[in-house]
Amino acid sequence: MGVTQILFWILSVLAVFSALMVVASKNPVYSVLWLILIFFAISGLYLLLNAQFLAIVNIIVYAGAIMVLFLFVIMLMNLNRDNEPQKNKWMKFAGIVSGGCLLLVLVAALKNAETKSAVAEMGTGNIGLIENLGKALFNDYVIPFEISSVLFLSAMVGAVVLGKKEASQNSSSGES
Amino acid sequence: MIPVLFIVIPLVSGLALFFFKNEKPARSFALFSSLISLVISILGLTAFSSGQHLQFAVTWLGFLGSSFSVKVDGMGQVLCLLTAVSYPLIFIATWKNQYRKANNYFALMLLTQAGLMGVFVAMDALLFYFFWELAVIPMYFLCSQWGGEKRIQATIKFFIYTFLGSVLMLVGIIYLYSKTPEHSFSIEAFYKLGKTLSYETQEWVFWLFFFAFAVKMPIFPFHTWQPDLYEQSGSSITMVLSGVMVKMGVFACLRWLLPVVSIASYRWGDVVTSMAVIGILYASLIALKQDDLKRMVAYSSIAHIGLMGATIFSETYVGFQGVMIQMFNHCINIIGMWIVVDMIEKKCGTRKISELGGLAQRAPSLAIFAMVIGLANVALPLTNAFIGEFMMFNGIFSSSVTQYNIVFTVLAGIGIILAAIYILNMIRKVFFGDLKNSTARATDTGWSENFVLSVIVILILWMGVYPDSLLQLTKEISETILSNSDITSLLTKH
């Protein structure tokens, strides 16, 4: 077992543990912090797979931007106390059991997949480099790229529509 | 062109009537249109008798394998004639009835007529289905808008029931269509296909079709929409419903069920006939206890139709002939019956038998008409119904497809005894005996009523004495149906 393997195991365990903590934490702020930890762990796994570009983007976009946004919102709402009312026990139990069953079923089904002999080679390869990805993105994937810009536009419009305080002069809103 | 005119005239005039403003012109126009239909049907009759082929086909929905193909054969001729005859009769008989939004009323009536005519002449399964629905939908509006207190519930029950039946039939039609080698809805293709289908398939299709037809007829135990609806809807609507519309089911069994899925019809014949025969007895027994005239007539109609149902599935030539002539006769009789009931209600303000009595003293003419029509309903010889019932009984008795033919005949025969009991009971209680409050100030029939009832009585007697005039029409088609549904040759093959 080489270093990469060991790292894989450590990062895997870290990711799973952090995920559990995200779910289990009472305080939303802790959840966010655990989530950031997951992102780091996953970025680590990306690096092991030589997907350096994605690893970086993951850290910058996810951990850096999105999670900060989350934190910001939580703070804004002053939700950083563990005041979340608990779901009823039955619901929790049902959720955990059915989730566990789902995992069990999927794992049992997929463990015999014909890809079981295939490996994801670690530590080699250069497709994850920004140069290769950039070429592909701007040659083959130009349409999706443009589309995603439209997507952002619509998200932006959405943020404006939803976030902008409407002046109270508009009394005719809605049907009720 | 005549079959097209059958459909187009009522359709166009029906649509036109929606734009009428006043009641008087709408009424006259509707009558005029129905008279034109009558004239055309008589023209058609003469043309048919002289051996012309009354058919018309034009491509429509061709990519679906369907076409606008209509043809008037003997059976269609009889049914178109009865539709064409009954509409003017109904309009005249209810000439004095007042309707809210009369133009809509007459428009819908004529649309129904178009649908009915279409059903009787369609030679394409999909077209048949279209007209089947076209006949029912205006009926839904008619029944919902003009009638008694509880009409809406009764109508929705009727409509969901029949719609369920017709969509199941649609599945059957599509299924058969998908099985035809050339993907066609034409009746010839269906007949041809029927010879090759396996029994299991036929069984499915049989029930899909039969349910629709049984609901429409209605055959016990699918009849529960009928008494309620007849009771609740206006009299002229009831006349159309019971006089013409129920014939759709009978007709469809003969045209679309027996010849197409003959093996299943043969195998299930006993069951269906039992249902029909039970229905005869059941409805007759219930009719004995009805106090409401309309309900009584409604149940009597179930019994009469039950007999037709039983005859159809006994698959005999004489029986088919009997059914076809009886379709016409039953229409005349029941319309007459409804007219009488309607007049009683109008004159006395009630339909309750227990509140009536001695009407013959006040309205002797009405009493005589009622007597003749009532006796026609109990199939007295020299009235039209005797001919039909005689032939139908004969058909059931001589059936070779069932081994219970004697049992069926006897049980169905008990039905005619019961019919005599309830009809005479009704006549006695309504017309004879002492006057009651409701009948004390009743008046006798007026000119329009006399006219209509006379026409009906003349038809009753004419068909009772010289039925051959109609029997000649249906000879050929009866043979065709019989030969198409003849299972003996098929059974040897399978």
Partner: protein, 457 residues
């Protein structure tokens, strides 16, 4: 391609029109012009005139099916805008933004009707749903609207992640995102592929509001402003089904044996839940919402059958369904009382509206000589042609009969019950459009090849 680009561009234009144009009617007319442009560009593309030649590397293919579907979608949207623009104004102050979002959605729709790559399916669906989250929540002061929006968002994001997991698993087997590449996998299908397919099935079922993944739909549709409910329940739902059939035909056509049973079960469940629940509703809006679910059940028959009849039929169904439902919602949006009682005596005060609504309802119920019948007919035909699971077809028609109950309940309320309905503000254009819609419903019912002709000419 024409429509895709034009709609995206016009969406951007609309964003700015809100700033530049002060008159709301001007904005509206601007949007209508844009829509007409998009529609005519799409029709031009059908006849072979393509404005933009962009190499999509096979990720988008504008074939006859997708172009015809697009035409129906754009035409429906145009009609929708004509009859509903007044109501859109009443939702909130961001009038131009709403219209811009609608254009973005149209852009997404033209993606999902013509995708060949799962990536574009994903992007298209996101491009449809993200603006929809916003439109659902656009009535900001209304708690129902807020809640609907949040629910829709959370559930939608959940289903998106299911879809992505499905795509990932499929990618694992095929190494490509092209939907056709899935179909060419030979031999016994891999478990991974099946798992991915089923996950995709779930998420598509979710988008198309097919039971048991339909739960979001009643809540979101009900909470959203009625005018947007109309759009979501018609155009967007139609687009989901188009994407659904395209995906399953291209990618999983060869695996029909694996998924057909599930389709059958989902179809039956959808029909059952949609119809049965609709019966009990006291509000016309909710009735229409559940009816849209039950109609989805019928559209599912096309996906279940997946043969040439099915594709034709789906086109027909979408057209019929959109026309009728848009018309109904257009009238409904003008009403102040959504209950059935609110419609009592409607025919007396508004004979024209009542007549057109009756035609729409008859069409939805599948009465012959309306477009609704032909489309249902096609669905049944397609399903019967598969030659097995006849029970499903029978169940479907039984449910169609059940649907009579609630559709006709509205007719009954309008025509046969006494009551008074306050005068509705209707413009001549509104009335004319409604009549046009009704005429189209009847016309398609009598001559369905007017539409289907375009698939083959």
């Amino acid at each position: 391609m024409n429509a895709l680009i034009l709609s995206a561009v016009w969406g951007v234009v609309m964003m700015f029109s809100g700033i530049l144009l002060k008159q709301r009617s001007a904005i509206r007319n601007f949007a209508l012009v844009g829509l007409v442009l998009v529609l005519s560009a799409n029709i031009l593309e059908m006849s072979g005139t393509v404005f933009f030649h962009i190499d999509t590397k096979g990720m988008l293919v504008f074939d006859r099916f997708s172009l015809l579907a697009g035409t129906i979608i754009f035409a429906s949207t145009l009609l929708y805008l004509i009859v509903s623009s007044k109501e859109i104004e009443r939702v909130g102050i961001h009038y131009a933004d709403y219209l811009a979002l609608i254009f973005f959605i149209l852009c997404g729709i033209s993606l999902v009707v013509s995708f060949k790559s799962l990536l574009l399916l994903f992007l298209g669906i996101e491009l449809i749903t993200i603006p929809l989250y916003i439109l659902t929540g656009s009535d900001k002061k209304n708690l129902k609207s807020n809640e609907a929006s949040l629910k829709y968002f959370l559930l939608g994001a959940f289903s998106t992640s299911l879809m992505l997991m499905g795509i990932a698993l499929i990618y694992g087997v095929t190494g490509s995102f092209m939907s056709l590449s899935v179909g060419v996998v030979k031999g016994e299908p891999s478990v991974l592929l099946i798992a991915g397919m089923i996950l995709l099935l779930f998420s598509m079922a979710f988008k198309a509001s097919v039971a048991p993944f339909h739960f979001w739909a009643p809540d979101a549709y009900d909470g959203a402003p009625t005018v947007f409910t109309s759009f979501m329940a018609t155009v967007v739902k139609a687009a989901s089904f188009l994407a659904f059939i395209r995906l399953f035909e291209d990618a999983f056509g060869s695996l029909q044996k694996q998924w057909q049973l599930w389709m059958a079960i989902f179809t039956a469940a959808t029909l059952f839940i949609g119809n049965i629940t609709a019966i009990f509703q006291q509000s016309v809006k909710k009735m229409l919402i559940y009816s849209s679910i039950s109609q989805a059940g019928f559209m599912m028959l096309a996906i279940y059958a997946m043969n040439s009849d099915a594709k034709e039929g789906l086109i027909m169904y979408i057209a019929a369904y959109c026309l009728a439902t848009i018309g109904l919602f257009a009238v409904l949006a003008k009403m102040s009382d959504y209950t059935f009682e609110g419609f009592n005596g409607f025919a007396k005060n508004h004979p024209l509206l009542a007549a057109t609504m009756t035609i729409f309802l008859l069409s939805l119920a599948g009465i012959p000589l309306t477009a609704g019948f032909i489309s249902k007919f096609y669905m049944l035909k397609a399903a019967v042609n598969t030659q097995h699971n006849l029970w499903l077809v029978i169940f479907a028609v039984v449910m169609a009969a059940v649907s009579i109950f609630y559709y006709f309940r509205l007719i009954q309320a309008m025509y046969f019950r006494e009551g008074t309905v306050p005068k509705l503000q209707t413009t001549p254009a509104f009335r004319v459009t409604l009549v046009l819609l009704a005429a189209a419903v009847i016309l398609l019912g009598i001559f369905p090849n007017l539409l289907l002709y375009w698939l083959y000419f």
